[in-house]
């Protein structure tokens, strides 16, 4: 009835028609044929219309240092977005995206010789693409959703009325969402610590899919084509979001900014819905979500550290809290109690797929929770729900966990070994109490505390607003005002959790002693790297504490008291976030990267997932090393691919080998192209792939990464579990609808 009413409005029909026309324009753009324009290196005054092109270059280089660049000679900025592309050694073909923002007759494509070795250019051309049309369709679709949404909202308000409280709440959420995205509303990316690492993951996901891997395990674009098993250790599930932006045709820079915005908005919305349901109050949920999303540590994590995984995990932490809250507080005899596993499963899955280290920290928090609420844990109904949660979570994530555990338990990597880790002493990163009380965090990036102190320190605090809420609850406890308060238990639990996490991040906590215990303790501690990571959990527990504090204030006979506190907390949150963002934008270094080739390939951050003691400096492009008595007649390895084809001949009557420019990880397959005979593969010098050749072998070998059979079994199990879960959710939704209809009919 409502939709029909809206459709009948002429203004809406006009709007819909306009949107369709705009979409069709985009679709027409998709159909345009590709045009290729061959050019010469150094050619000037190239005419280009606005659009997105590929600059294709086929070259052969025998030394490093050669570069490709494209720019406008008249207007150096604002016309062509390209970046500087390194031309690596070998016979290579590169397709480099180029964005032309306005018509130009003075474009230039330049190849710079590095000064050593030989460089031959076989082909250089500019090819049109339909990326602009894709971006157009996406923007029209997004704009339509927003405008239509506002239209429906207005119509709904006119017919049924939306309460003032709801309007205020959503107004505050929109404002907070916008404010949180300010550092991303620029035409560059702030140079976060791990910024390059995560951008390479996105490109690696694309190259892995093109390589035929699904799911992607080893990304072939890393380390000059040697590949890096980042997808095994760090799930790529949510990197699909920036990948989609890249595939649509956005620059690396824009995709990164958009991704940050998506993370911020998701954090805000998830936190709002969870806290609203726990507190049974929209306004408190809103304040809690705003404080959580704008907390100093979270903003620092996202924009200054570019800790995308940790920031993604913070999206799901409120879900985990909400899930546990429902399991431990709802009536176990309720018919629907058994379904409480869903929310918690979703939250845990989200965290597992985002950031394994947060799982490590969360495991500790969950153990403590279960110990504190042990009586409730062992209620029959609760125990069953918890078991179901664990089982379903494991099964859903088996596709990721099996390869991860397989590598961690059977392989040897830099992670967990202090001699190969950049971070040698975790205790060097313990905070002072001063950090937690500090208010005016801004542009600081320093993570290490030992020997450096507070100078230019990172934002290692939950933030002023959450601190006020935390101290507010402390005041209520100290003055004994909460003795009869209904939510006292929740307030106390969240308060003490916050205190625990505060202690864990401080330099007084004996991290050095724990690290030197060896074994699992050492590995877990070293993998944690920085104790201040616990501030992500502290931000959540402090938000819950602040929400419970507001719940207490709501009891006050005068409504103005509650409103004043809510406004104060939001205002403080907005102010200090604005200050922090302001300082970040003014002082932090930044970068503009447009195409993937401008990024380089070797930013592995701390190199945790490299095979143990592998030396990156020895990894040179296309470096094939035959063993004794082996002759190579040819080898082919494409850009960003882990597929390799090589023709070899053993000239001696003995077993030998050939080493390839690919990093060895379990799962590589080598087989004879003609007979299909499998050849043994092992780790060679510097942990590269070594294919063992039987005596007198001659033929063409195909090498590629193939998932192990039990990985495939795990993937199937996860898929089946997902199908069952979706079916259950669908069943639940249908049942709810039937119940609603039944109520209406009654």
């Amino acid at each position: 009835m409502f939709w029909k009413m809206v459709w009948k409005k002429n203004s809406f029909r006009l709007l819909a028609a306009l949107e369709v026309i705009l979409l069709l324009v985009g679709v027409a753009g998709l159909m345009l044929p590709q045009k290729r324009q061959e050019i010469l290196p150094g050619q000037e005054n190239i005419s280009l219309n606005p659009g997105i092109y590929n600059v294709e270059i086929h070259y052969k280089a025998t030394a490093e240092g050669n570069q490709l660049n494209a720019y406008d000679t008249l207007h150096e900025t604002g016309t062509i977005l390209f970046g500087v592309v390194n031309l690596y050694t070998g016979d290579n073909v590169e397709e480099c995206q180029m964005w032309v923002l306005r018509s130009t007759d003075t474009a230039k494509v330049e190849v710079t010789y590095g000064g050593s070795g030989e460089l031959e250019i076989y082909e250089l051309s500019i090819v049109t693409t339909n990326c602009a049309a894709r971006i157009w369709i996406f923007l029209v679709f997004l704009g339509s959703v927003l405008i239509n949404g506002l239209f429906f909202l207005q119509a709904f308000d006119g017919r049924y009325g939306i309460s003032r409280e709801q309007k205020v709440v959503w107004g505050v959420l929109v404002a907070a969402g916008l404010l949180s995205c300010i550092p991303a509303m620029v035409n560059y990316n702030l140079w976060g610590d791990d910024w390059g690492f995560h951008l390479l993951r996105v490109e690696g996901l694309i190259s892995g899919l093109k390589d035929g891997q699904f799911p992607v395990r080893i990304q072939g674009n890393w380390l000059r084509g040697y590949g890096y098993a980042v997808s095994v250790f760090y799930s790529d599930m949510f990197m699909v979001v920036p990948m989609v932006f890249r595939l649509l045709g956005f620059t690396v820079r824009t995709s990164c900014c958009l991704f940050y915005m998506v993370i911020n908005l998701a954090t805000l919305l998830v936190a709002y819905h969870c806290l609203k349901r726990v507190c049974k109050d929209r306004a408190i949920g809103c304040v809690g979500a705003v404080m959580y999303t704008l907390s100093a540590y979270r903003m620092h994590n996202l924009f200054m550290r570019s800790a995308v995984g940790e920031s993604l995990a913070m999206v799901f932490l409120p879900l985990v809290f909400y899930g546990f809250y429902r399991i431990f507080t709802e009536d176990v005899h309720d018919r629907k109690y058994g379904q409480n596993w869903m929310v918690l499963t979703l939250g845990l899955t989200g965290i597992i797929q985002s950031h394994v280290l947060t799982c490590e920290m969360l495991a500790l928090a969950i153990l403590i929770l279960c110990a504190v609420l042990i009586k409730k844990v062992f209620r029959k109904e609760t125990f069953l729900v918890l078991v179901k949660t664990v089982v379903v979570t494991l099964l859903l994530n088996l596709w990721y966990l099996v390869p991860f555990l397989d590598y961690m338990l059977t392989g040897k990597f830099n992670v967990g070994h202090p001699e190969t880790m950049t971070i040698k002493e975790v205790s060097d990163y313990g905070l002072y109490l001063t950090h937690l009380l500090f208010s005016f965090y801004g542009q600081g990036t320093q993570g290490k505390i030992e020997g450096i102190g507070m100078g230019n320190t990172g934002a290692f605090s939950v933030g002023a607003a959450l601190l006020i809420g935390f101290l507010g609850w402390l005041y209520l406890e100290w003055t004994g005002k909460v003795k009869e308060f209904k939510y006292r238990g929740l307030g106390r639990l969240s308060f003490w959790y916050t205190c625990l996490f505060f202690v864990l991040v401080l330099d007084i906590f004996p991290w050095a002693q724990i690290q030197h215990l060896e074994g699992a303790a050492q590995m877990l501690t070293l993998s944690l790297q920085f104790p201040w990571r616990f501030l992500s959990l502290a931000s959540l527990s402090a938000s819950v504490t602040a929400c419970v504090f507001l719940l207490y204030m709501k009891q006050h006979p005068k409504k103005e008291v509650f409103v004043s506190w809510a406004v104060l907390l939001v205002a403080v949150s907005l102010f200090f976030n604005a200050y922090q963002s302001n300082m970040q934008l003014q002082s932090r270094g930044f970068a503009r990267v447009y195409n993937k080739q401008s990024m380089g390939t070797i930013y592995v951050s701390n190199g945790e997932y490299l095979p143990y003691q592998a030396d990156i400096s020895l990894m040179q492009c296309d470096l094939v090393m035959p063993g004794a008595g082996v002759e190579m007649s040819g080898s082919i390895k494409g850009q960003d691919t882990l597929h390799m084809e090589l023709t070899v001949q053993s000239i001696k009557d003995q077993e030998s080998y050939v080493e390839l420019p690919i990093l060895y990880y379990k799962g590589y397959v080598a087989k004879d192209a003609d007979t299909g005979q499998r050849l043994e593969v092992e780790a060679g010098d510097n942990s590269v792939v070594r294919v063992l050749l039987p005596a007198n072998y001659s033929g063409t070998i195909l090498v590629y990464f193939g998932s192990l059979w039990y990985w495939r079994v795990a993937e199937v199990i996860s898929l089946v579990t997902l199908s069952v879960v979706l079916w259950q959710i669908g069943h639940k939704v249908r049942r709810k609808r039937r119940e609603k209809v039944a109520v209406v009919e009654k």
Binding site: Y432, L433, T434, L437, F438, S439, F440, G442, G444, E450, G451, I452, G453, M454, G455, N456, T457, L471, L474, Y475, W478, T479, G480, D507, K558, E560, V561, S564, L568
Partner: protein, 447 residues
């Protein structure tokens, strides 16, 4: 008729009294926690200034400066001793200022507001964590006692009250002498000015006698420090040896009114060149000043009571104004001293050189503006009770919130900036061997 600020007993039930106590403890605890923020680190800001307190050099050491030395003898390291001393000073500053303002003015949040303005003033942060001036920190803690004593002497109608007042003044005076003699000189000068401004009242009752006795008593009790100090003065030992002299070390007006104080050194090529020290009044003091100047200018109602209050505020503002003016570089010291007879001018000039820095005159302004904030809090509470009884809590909460916010943007901002900008120093090991010979603290180090 001078406005008497009476302590109005609160009509409370049993439970509320104990809750108020807990609230006070909580509030003071938080103040001390935040004021001591830099002490929780593994190093100490301004530590390069502190090492000389432990040097075995010729000079005089007041009681307070023995505390860190005793702590070192007890087995603590020099940095730990300094930190503990700083913490003790923070506790004393918060408690004494709160206690004194609480006694002077009735009301739940007034005293707290004044104590926050005083403890977190930029000057307070500066002497603790920028200049590392141990003696001045102790003097800063003692200062409110002098104000409280002065208040008691001039507002009590009974002899007992007057004697009590002089007792507190003496306690404060002796504390100042044993903490920082130059500050004691400043306070003495302003006490004299205060007595002059109080007009006839200074000659009424026993006040001339008790004030003289108080001064004499303070000097007598301070003799163990004053005598060697005067001997050093007569031997021509000076605080600071530089070309600027006292008259060249004053503040610029811009420095005084800067809203967001940051750590600045003369070496940084700052916009404000040539300054030696950088101690703005801070937002709370400026706002307090503006509110009171506005209040005075806009006049009073016809009631005697209000006129009395305005008279008091005018006097306080005169003292504040004088204190601020004396801290400026443009104050015509040379012109004024030249007009005085040679020995008098020379004596004053010597006294000024021992005060060292004109910005020290701001101490009086800071104290009185914090007190004015307390009075404002009381006025707000009266107004809220009279006109908006049911919203009284909210109005007081808003007032306290504004006071806290102003202090956060001022003193706390400054403290945060110090921590952010100052490199980590190996405390105490940054001592330069011969530097103490030119140190202003020379006169405070014992043999």
């Amino acid at each position: 008729m001078v406005w008497r600020i009476e302590r109005v007993p609160l009509r409370v039930a049993q439970g509320e009294v104990s809750m108020n106590k807990k609230s006070k403890i909580f509030s003071l605890g938080l103040m001390i926690l935040f004021l001591s923020m830099p002490l929780y680190m593994s190093y100490l800001p301004a530590s390069q200034e502190l090492g000389i307190y432990f040097q075995d050099t010729p000079g005089i050491r007041g009681f307070f400066l023995w505390i860190p030395q005793w702590l070192v003898w007890a087995g603590l390291g020099q940095q730990a001793a300094s930190k503990l001393y700083l913490f003790i000073m923070n506790v004393l500053t918060c408690l004494i200022s709160y206690g004194c303002f609480d006694k002077m003015v009735s009301g739940k949040v007034s005293a707290l507001a004044g104590s926050i303005c005083y403890s977190f003033s930029v000057y307070s942060i500066y002497i603790r964590y920028d200049a590392g001036s141990m003696g001045e920190m102790a003097a800063y803690a003692m200062l409110p006692l002098c104000l409280y004593g002065f208040y008691g002497v001039y507002t009590s109608q009974q002899r007992q009250g007057i004697w009590k007042g002089i007792g507190w003044m003496m306690a404060g005076g002796v504390g100042l002498i044993y903490a920082h003699i130059p500050v004691a000189l400043i306070v003495l000068a302003f006490l004299i000015l205060g007595c002059i401004l109080m007009g006839k009242k200074s000659l009424q009752r026993m006040r001339p006698l008790v004030l003289t006795m108080g001064l004499g008593g303070s000097v007598l009790l301070g003799l163990p420090v004053l005598v060697p100090y005067m001997q050093a003065v007569s031997n021509g030992i000076f605080y600071i040896h530089d070309n600027e002299l006292f008259t060249g070390r004053g503040l610029e007006i811009a420095e005084l009114l800067t809203a967001f104080p940051v750590k600045v050194t003369a070496m940084e090529g700052n916009i404000i060149e040539g300054m030696v020290s950088y101690v703005p009044l801070g937002l709370p003091a400026v706002v307090s000043l503006v509110v009171y100047v506005a209040g005075v200018c806009l006049g009073a109602t016809s009631t005697d009571d209000r006129k009395g209050k305005i008279k008091l505020m005018k006097r306080l503002l005169i003292i504040v104004g004088v204190s601020i003016m004396l801290s400026f570089r443009i104050f015509p010291w040379n012109t004024l001293l030249a007009r005085l007879p040679g020995s008098v001018g020379g004596g004053i000039r010597t006294g000024l050189e021992h005060i060292g820095y004109p910005h020290r005159f701001l101490l009086i302004a800071i104290l009185l503006l914090a007190f004015l904030a307390t009075l404002l809090g009381q006025r707000v509470e009266e107004w809220a009770t009279e006109k908006h009884g049911e919203h009284k809590e909210l109005i007081l909460g808003a007032f306290l919130g504004i006071v806290i916010a102003l202090n956060v943007f001022s003193g706390v901002y400054y403290m945060n900036n110090l921590l952010y900008m100052m490199p980590m120093e190996d405390s105490i090991t940054a001592i330069r061997d011969s530097w103490w010979l030119e140190s202003e603290y020379l006169l405070y180090i014992s043999k």
